[in-house]
């Protein structure tokens, strides 16, 4: 079966979304969805085409306990901030590396032998993540516009089913997720919302944790904190 054939891709996507693709065929398509952009897009199109069939279903208000349970599972209702405490402990231990990171920043940005590294337009703050002469990511931001660009310099994927998540460390309270970091030379851009931007201006720095694909399921770091960096004004 040639799953490069656009008609077949579209048909499989339609049956996947309808729910009539079963067993190994469904599993195979789900595997292909991970790295086949054409199949993902075909599935999205069918999700949209058929979404209105749901309007034949009456709206039904869930009981309030569902939201409470979602909050419990995501740690929203936990006043102890236990994972936050662990996080801060790890962060303190790693923070002493920040000075080394700054030296890397200068080497990386002035080395004429390297091709230009994409940064945010009009970047006014920058951070380099990495140790010694092995910079992993260059993160640049304009704290007025909220534009942030993260470029993987030497960072490679953590594990097959893990990602690196970038966190901002406010002066108080829990770390706040900025987004998933790229690997293998890629660049991603994020738009920092105004509320987060205000915290970032006063933040203690950045940290990177290893998380499941899609990022932390709880809104707080769940995996080990593997790097930290200081944000420096230009």
């Amino acid at each position: 079966m040639n799953i490069r054939d656009p008609e077949l891709v579209d048909r499989l996507a339609s049956e996947y979304v309808l729910g009539t693709l079963h067993g190994k065929a469904r599993q195979r398509l789900e595997t292909l969805l991970i790295d086949r952009d054409d199949i993902r897009r075909a599935v999205w199109r069918w999700e949209n085409r058929l979404a209105d069939l749901s309007s034949t279903t009456p709206l039904l208000e869930p009981s309030k306990r569902v939201w409470t349970r979602i909050g419990d599972r995501l740690g929203f209702n936990d006043k102890k901030q236990s994972s936050g405490s662990t996080f801060w402990h790890l962060w303190s231990a790693a923070a002493s590396l920040a000075a080394v990171v700054m030296a890397v920043l200068l080497i990386t940005s002035t080395d004429s032998g390297l091709s230009p590294i994409p940064t945010t337009d009009n970047a006014d703050h920058i951070a380099v993540v990495g140790e010694g002469n092995d910079p992993l990511w260059l993160i640049s931001a304009n704290l007025t516009s909220g534009a942030l660009t993260a470029r993987a310099i030497n960072a490679q994927a953590a594990e097959v089913d893990k990602v690196f998540e970038l966190w901002m460390l406010p002066t108080s309270g829990d770390p706040r997720s900025i987004g998933i970091l790229p690997v293998s030379g890629n660049t991603v851009s994020h738009q920092i919302p105004p509320g987060l931007l205000a915290l970032l201006k006063e933040s203690k720095g950045l940290a990177i944790s290893i998380e499941p694909i899609g990022g932390s399921p709880t809104g707080l770091p769940t995996g080990p904190v593997v790097h930290t960096a200081t944000v420096v004004g230009l």
């Binding site: 199109r45 749901s54 034949t56 920092i192 899609g214």
Partner: protein, 176 residues
């Protein structure tokens, strides 16, 4: 809430904004819960799947972008996948009623519940009744080809080909 507002809530959710996430939940969960209740016919189970769905929405909000289409389609997609897994497991254990008791539905039979005359509804009405029944039965109730064949007293191969043809016609109509 319009689509732009929903997309803004998702964007804020990506950044850990719990207020935005709650607003997204309150705006979309009655639709999603209605879909789940109809698929699973079990309120407690539908609530469990609703929880799973929004935990995923929180952790995967970064995967959503406007090219995916409407936010509600994305959330329903997450919910239906989980519900289909549960339905299949229940069927393997023989816990689901057979398709014998399912009253075949066409889009016309559901029109009283539609808030507006959607393009999809108009396109569905152009399909043969048996195609409408099969597509609604599969999408809304999670019935398999085999169950639909039993219900409609048709060979499985015929049901498969009619669904396939129905989906192709639906796509052509929606893209006009």
């Amino acid at each position: 809430m319009n689509e732009n507002e929903l997309q803004t809530l998702v964007a804020r959710t990506v950044h850990g904004d719990r207020v935005a996430f709650q607003a997204l939940y309150e705006s979309t969960s009655p639709t999603v819960f209605g879909v789940l209740q109809r698929m699973l016919s079990d309120r407690a189970q539908a609530e469990d799947v609703l929880q799973d769905t929004y935990v995923k929405v929180w952790s995967r909000a970064g995967e959503y972008h406007y090219e995916r289409g409407r936010v509600i389609g994305w959330v329903i997609g997450i919910a239906r996948n989980r519900a289909l897994d549960i339905l299949r497991a229940k069927k393997r254990r023989g816990e689901v009623q057979s398709a014998d008791s399912w009253p075949p539905e066409t889009i016309a039979g559901n029109s009283g519940e539609l808030e507006q005359n959607t393009v999809l509804q108009q396109c569905m009405e152009r399909l043969a009744a048996i195609q409408q029944q099969s597509i609604i039965g599969a999408f809304v109730h999670g019935w398999t080809h085999e169950e639909l064949a039993k219900l409609l007293s048709l060979p499985v191969g015929t049901v498969k080909s009619r669904i396939r043809r129905g989906l192709a016609l639906l796509k052509d109509c929606l893209e006009r």
